[in-house]
Structure formats: structure tokens, C-alpha cells
């Protein structure tokens, strides 16, 4: 490395190949109103790229929950249904039963899935509904100001647990993937994290496997993604990834929890060779 500053306002004039476009093909633009350092747009990229790579763009319907991620729908070049808070798994159940050849995914937060709509997702999983639920877990009700949710970890400071979540007062966190993986109707369950480049790559592997599980008709799939919410956590944006990995990641353990109907409890998914070769992982 030297301190020579290169022009970065334009591509190389010749002799180079573009290996990463600003945005996925299924993303309509790059402008969004989510906070600096938010992890949710990174999760969006893993979803859109997986759909594109599986050639399912024309056959996918997203069912969207309520949270900061709802604002990302304006970027998604997909058919979408807006659900009431927490109800996306039930809406996706009905729609999938009418249109069984489509790929259905829900996009929900921890407040949406683990608080507002906990029974919806549990029953959808237990019934083995052939849908994929995507949980963006930041441990707070981000959009409404950063309050405690059912997934907030012990000791975590939120707007209504200023001294940190205390089990004697606030109870214990619910680990969603751990809860859903053992159910008979669950075919695939994994938890990723977007705290670094390797985490994003692994999360995308999980997303693809979940969608493939659904397209093979094997049953319910869940991909939980740990996402940064520096605004809700009282943490500077640059410290968000470390906080996510060390504090939330210690309780919500990443890895594959169920694959091909077999319980794995946190196995590491293999990163694709291509990413390894480039040194991104």
C-alpha cells in the first residue's frame, strides 16, 4: 500500500472486467432512507441476488412485514404483498397454496416475527408450509425508536432497557432459529450475519439453500440474518458490526441449524470458492 490516491470516480479505461455492479439486477436504484451503517440493505442484496441467480425473478412474490426494511420495498423489482405487522407467514401461506409454483419469501424483523406475530411463524413452520421466512434480527423495534424485542439479548441497552435487558424484569431472549429448527415441518433453518464480508457471503449461501429447499417442495425454511442497528443500540456506526458479532452473535449463534431435514445446530456453511479466491472471505 502507498499513500498515492487514485481516481475512483470512473471505471478503468480499458483492460478490465466489471466484477461487481453497484446494485443487484433486481434492485431498482441505490437511494434509500435507512440509517448510515444499517445492516438491512446488506440482507436485501443477498435476497435479490439469490433470486436472480436461481432464475426465479418472474416467479417470486415477497410478503413484507412492518419495520425499517419495509422502506426497501421501493427498491425491489419483484411482485410484493404488504402484510400487517407479524402476519406475513399466514399471508404467504394462503398465497403459496393458490400459486404453488411461485417462490414465496417473507421479509420480517425481530419485532415483527418474534413479538407481533410469533404464533404465525411457529404454526407456518409446524404445518410445513412451503415458504421461506426471512428474519432480519437487530434485537430492537428499530423503526419505532429502538425498544426491546423478544430477541434482545441480556445486558443489551435499548430505549426501554437503558441499564441493559435484565432477565428478572424482562425475561430471556427467544432464539428464533433454535426454536423453529426442531419442528417437523421445518426443512431448512439457518442464521447468518452481515457484520463482515465473509458473513454476507455465507448468508447468501443460506438464502439460496432455503429457496432451493422451497422449490424442491420440501417444506418450511427460515433464514435469520443478524443486522446492525447502530441507531437503536446507542453504538457509533463504525462499531456496529463488532457489537453485532460480539453481543448479539454470542446468543444468536450463526450457522446452519437444519438442512435436508437433519438437525445440525450451528454448522458452518462452506463459502463459495470464488469468494475465497478473491480474498474477500
Amino acid at each position: 500500500m502507498s499513500d498515492e490516491v487514485l481516481r475512483s470516480d470512473r471505471p478503468p479505461e480499458s483492460g478490465a472486467t466489471r466484477t461487481g455492479e453497484f446494485k443487484p439486477t433486481l434492485q431498482l436504484g441505490t437511494d434509500h432512507d435507512l440509517c448510515a451503517g444499517c445492516g438491512e440493505p446488506l440482507a436485501l442484496r443477498t435476497i435479490l441476488e439469490s433470486i436472480e441467480e436461481l432464475g426465479l425473478a418472474q416467479r417470486t412474490i415477497g410478503v413484507i412485514g412492518i419495520g425499517c426494511y419495509t422502506a426497501l420495498t421501493s427498491l425491489m423489482d419483484l411482485d410484493l404483498i404488504q402484510a400487517l405487522h407479524g402476519r406475513a407467514p399466514s399471508l404467504a401461506t394462503g398465497a403459496k397454496r393458490m400459486l404453488p409454483d411461485r417462490l414465496f419469501f417473507t421479509l420480517q424483523g425481530d419485532g415483527d416475527m418474534a413479538n407481533e406475530g410469533l404464533q404465525e411463524v411457529i404454526h407456518a413452520a409446524a404445518r410445513g408450509e412451503n415458504i421461506t421466512c426471512v428474519l432480519l434480527n437487530n434485537g430492537v423495534f428499530g423503526e419505532t425508536g429502538g425498544h426491546m424485542t423478544a430477541t434482545t439479548v441480556l445486558g443489551q441497552r435499548t430505549k426501554n432497557t437503558l441499564e441493559g435487558r435484565d432477565a428478572t424484569q424482562h425475561g430471556y431472549p427467544i432464539q428464533m432459529v433454535d426454536l423453529l429448527a426442531p419442528l417437523g415441518g421445518t426443512a431448512y433453518a439457518a442464521r447468518g450475519s452481515v457484520h463482515d464480508a465473509s458473513g454476507v457471503v455465507k448468508t447468501k449461501v443460506m438464502m439460496r439453500r432455503a429457496f432451493e429447499t422451497q422449490m424442491r417442495g420440501e417444506g418450511f425454511s427460515i433464514v435469520e440474518i443478524l443486522t446492525m442497528c447502530p441507531t437503536g443500540w446507542f453504538v457509533p456506526t463504525a462499531k456496529g458490526p463488532g457489537y453485532l458479532n460480539e453481543v448479539l452473535g454470542a446468543v444468536h449463534v450463526t450457522g446452519e441449524w437444519k438442512r435436508d431435514g437433519r438437525l445440525l445446530r450451528g454448522a458452518e456453511p462452506e463459502a463459495p470458492n470464488e469468494a475465497k479466491e478473491r480474498g474477500a472471505v
Binding site: 480499458s14 483492460g15 478490465a16 461487481g20 453497484f22 434492485q27 441505490t30 451503517g37 463482515d196
Partner: protein, 81 residues
């Protein structure tokens, strides 16, 4: 220094979160003291990019486009003027 990769940075989209800085394995991204139109500091590129795409994977605001040189040190990877 020979260039294996190159990034185009959309500095006007940048919100200054700094997530790309520690993500870059060869540490060729550095925050500038300049502000963009929304008042955020943004990164600049030093020589030695490998085109690994780590910055591209972690930027929540889709500010990076990544290029790989067919031959390392090809034209186009010029210092700023």
C-alpha cells in the same frame, strides 16, 4: 504498485458509516476529510486494490462498483489529477 483491481466509488450516495474501511483486506480505502452533498465524509482509494469485493459486500449504501484488471497494472489505474 501493480493494480489487480479497481473500485468506482459513488461518493454522493455515501452516508459516511466507515464500514468499508476495516473491511478492505489490503487497507486501500481511507476516509477523506471532504463532505458530500448530504454532509457525510466518504472514502478515497489508494493504490493496491485487489478487486476482492469486500467493500462492495459490506457497504449498506451500494457505493461500490468493482473491476478486475485483465493484466495487473493495466492503464486506467492512474493517480488522481
Amino acid at each position: 504498485m501493480s493494480q489487480r483491481g479497481h473500485v468506482v466509488i459513488d461518493i454522493e450516495r455515501c452516508k459516511g458509516c466507515e464500514l468499508c474501511i476495516p473491511a478492505c483486506p489490503p487497507q486501500v480505502l481511507r476516509m477523506t476529510g471532504e463532505h458530500n452533498r448530504i454532509g457525510a465524509h466518504y472514502p478515497e482509494l489508494l493504490s493496491g486494490c485487489t478487486g476482492c469485493r469486500a467493500c462492495w459486500l459490506v457497504c449498506p449504501d451500494f457505493c461500490f462498483e468493482v473491476w478486475q484488471f485483465d493484466e495487473p497494472g493495466a492503464p486506467g489505474a492512474r493517480p488522481g489529477e
